[in-house]
């Protein structure tokens, strides 16, 4: 008598090819992944914020050239006017401004008004600015006064610094027509961090 043989369980060999075919047959195209949304378009035109700190003729000239050009290019242009720059925007007809003797003395020592600017270098008691003015006329360069008028006409916003106005004793009626409301440094920083390219002149 022979012991019954136990058949080992049949293990079906796995056919990798058949398996691959099965997967391929049941294949469904996955849902297309939507393309990532395109980055927001960069702002076409940023605003321009010029900080006019200086009252020197050549720097005022640069400020007003850039301000008028900004406005001409359709860029919202603002000029924050502070420290010596404030003297530029006092009416040409004003001579002495301020309340206290010190404020009056300061205005006496530097005549205010856009037409009375001095050069930071080579002023020579007004000979430098006179030569600059003569050359400018010869070469068709608009004077700061003409540029200021053009800037105002094209909607450049001039914002005087409240703190400097107080310190120099300047009153709103001392300033040229069309000046904006006096503001402080927070307004300037606010504009810089929002959408303005800042320039400090």
């Amino acid at each position: 008598m022979t012991a019954p043989t136990i058949e080992p369980p049949v293990v079906l060999p796995v056919d990798p090819i058949a398996e691959a075919v099965a997967i391929a047959d049941n294949w469904t195209e996955p849902e297309p992944v939507p393309a990532p949304a395109p980055e927001a378009e960069p702002a076409a035109a940023k605003d321009l914020l010029i900080i006019d700190y200086s009252g020197d003729l050549e720097k005022v000239w640069a400020t007003l050239i850039l301000a008028t050009t900004g406005a001409a290019m359709g860029v919202k242009t603002r000029v924050f006017v502070t420290f010596w720059g404030l003297q530029v925007f006092v009416k040409d007809s004003k001579r002495i401004t301020g309340e206290t003797w010190m404020q009056k003395m300061l205005s006496f020592m530097q005549r205010p008004g856009v037409s009375h600017r001095k050069l930071s270098k080579m002023n020579f008691l007004g000979m430098g600015p006179w030569m600059m003015g003569t050359l400018a006329k010869k070469y068709g360069v608009a004077s700061p006064k003409e540029l200021l008028e053009a800037a105002q006409e094209m909607g450049v916003e001039f914002m005087p610094c409240q703190m400097t106005m107080d310190m120099f004793g300047l009153k709103p009626e001392d300033m040229i027509e069309g000046m904006g409301e006096p503001v402080g440094a927070a307004t300037v920083i606010g504009l810089m961090t929002e959408n303005s390219v800042p320039l400090f002149i």
């Binding site: 008028t68 406005a71 001409a72 290019m73 359709g74 860029v75 068709g140 094209m154």
Partner: protein, 78 residues
């Protein structure tokens, strides 16, 4: 050649930067959309400046030429 009907002329001859651009911008403001503005300038920098101005503002620079130191630009208001 198509006839160009210019509705405004800006004479910026003899003027330096930035007045050719400033005067042009002022003229464009009063023009209607699609109108053509002709600018004459003698400022050599205006060739580059008008190209930049057109790029930034979107007003098309339709034509430009130079003749004996006078630059001519034709702009179409957008």
């Amino acid at each position: 050649m198509a006839v160009i009907e210019v509705s405004q002329h800006v004479d910026a001859r003899g003027l330096s930067c930035p007045m050719p651009i400033v005067k042009t911008a002022q003229a464009v403001k009063t023009a209607a959309s699609g109108e053509l503005i002709e600018v004459l300038a003698t400022d050599a920098g205006s060739v580059k400046d008008f190209a930049a101005w057109s790029r930034t503002t979107g007003h098309e620079l339709v034509e430009q030429s130079a003749d004996g130191g006078v630059y001519r630009f034709v702009i179409r208001r957008k």
